[in-house]
C-alpha cells in the first residue's frame, strides 16, 4: 500500500473513532501538542493512561470483592480513572466512570459490579482501537511518509 493510501486510511479510521464516540476532542488536543520537539507525545501520554487505567481497574475490582465494600475508596479510584480517561479523550470510559460514581454514592454493589464490567469493556475497546491507530501511524512513518494532522472540525 502506498503512503497516500495509508494516510487516507488513517484519517478515515480516526474519524470513525470520533463518530462512534470512542474518542472526543481532547484526543485532538493531544495530537496538536505533538511536534518535532515532542514527536512521540501522544503515544507516551496514552501509554501512561493504559498503565494507570489497568492499575485502577484492578484496584476497583479488588475493592468490590471485599466482604464489606469501602465505597469511598472505590469512588476515589473511579474519580482518578475518570480524570485520566478524560485527559486522553477516552470518552466512553469517562462516561462509564460518571455513571459508576452514582452507584458508589448509593453504595450499590450490584450496580457497581455491572458498571465495572461495562467500563472494562469500553477500556479494552479503546485500547485496541488506539493501538491499531498507532500501528497505522508507524506503518506510514516506516514507509517514509508523515502522519497527517486531524482537522479540529469535521
Amino acid at each position: 500500500m502506498e503512503v497516500g493510501q495509508m494516510q487516507r486510511r488513517l484519517i478515515e479510521y480516526t474519524k470513525s473513532l470520533f463518530m462512534e464516540g470512542i474518542l472526543d476532542d481532547q484526543f485532538l488536543q493531544l495530537q496538536q501538542l505533538q511536534d518535532e520537539s515532542n514527536p512521540d507525545f501522544v503515544v507516551e501520554v496514552v501509554s501512561l493512561f493504559f498503565q494507570d487505567a489497568e492499575r485502577l481497574l484492578n484496584d476497583i475490582t479488588s475493592a468490590l470483592d471485599q466482604q464489606s465494600v469501602d465505597f469511598p475508596k472505590v469512588d476515589a479510584h473511579v474519580h482518578q480513572l475518570k480524570g485520566s480517561s478524560a485527559s486522553v479523550g477516552a470518552q466512553r470510559v469517562k462516561n462509564g466512570c460518571i455513571a459508576f460514581r452514582n452507584f458508589c454514592e448509593e453504595q450499590n454493589v450490584d450496580g457497581s459490579l455491572r458498571c465495572l464490567q461495562q467500563i472494562k469493556q469500553e477500556y479494552y475497546h479503546v485500547k485496541n482501537k488506539l493501538e491499531a491507530l498507532f500501528r497505522l501511524e508507524q506503518q506510514i512513518v516506516a514507509a517514509g511518509g508523515s502522519v497527517p494532522m486531524m482537522e479540529l472540525s469535521f
Binding site: 481532547q26 488536543q29 493531544l30 496538536q32 501538542l33 520537539s37 515532542n38 507525545f41 507516551e44 501520554v45 501512561l48 493512561f49 494507570d52 474519580h79 482518578q80 475518570k82 480524570g83 485520566s84 478524560a86 485527559s87 486522553v88
Partner: protein, 140 residues
C-alpha cells in the same frame, strides 16, 4: 503577547515569543502534568512541575517565583485550596489559576475565597490558555 501592539495571536508561533514568563504546574497526576507541561511549552520554556501543594509552598518559600501557578484542587498532603491560602499568606503575588476535575460552578467561590485569580476545569486546553493569557495581558 504581553507587550504592546501584539497582532492577532491566532498563529501559535507568535505566542510567547515576545516575553518570557515562568509557570509552575502543581498536580498529583503524572498524566495531567505531562499534558499541561506540553501545552504550556507552546507558550513558554520556563516550566516547573511539582506533585502536591506542600512541594509548591516549599518551592516558593525557597525563593523561586513564578508568573503563573496552575494548581490542581484535589491533591494529597496539601490540596490546592490550602496551598493557595498558604502562598497568599506568604506574600506570593503570582497569578494563581485553580484547575479542578469537579464541577466548576460549585467550586468557583472556594477558589476565589482562597485567593485564586481564575479557575478552569481539567484538562486545560490551548483555547483556555490563550484566553487566560489575553486576560492577563489586558490587566498588565
Amino acid at each position: 503577547m504581553f507587550g504592546k501592539g501584539a497582532s492577532s495571536s491566532k498563529n501559535m508561533e507568535i505566542i510567547g515569543s515576545e516575553k518570557k514568563f515562568s509557570v509552575l504546574i502543581v498536580d498529583d497526576d503524572p498524566i495531567i502534568r505531562k499534558i499541561h507541561s506540553a501545552l504550556l511549552s507552546k507558550f513558554t520554556k520556563e516550566i516547573h512541575e511539582v506533585k502536591n501543594g506542600k512541594e509548591a509552598v516549599d518551592l516558593c518559600r525557597s525563593g523561586t517565583s513564578f508568573d503563573i501557578i496552575f494548581i490542581d484542587k484535589e491533591m494529597p498532603i496539601m490540596n490546592g485550596l490550602e496551598a493557595t491560602k498558604e502562598l497568599r499568606a506568604m506574600g506570593v503575588y503570582s497569578t494563581i489559576v485553580g484547575v479542578t476535575s469537579c464541577d466548576l460552578s460549585s467550586e468557583r467561590n472556594d477558589f476565589i475565597a482562597a485567593g485564586q485569580n481564575q479557575c478552569y476545569e481539567k484538562p486545560l486546553t490551548i483555547e483556555k490558555i490563550k484566553s487566560l493569557l489575553s486576560e492577563l495581558n489586558k490587566n498588565n
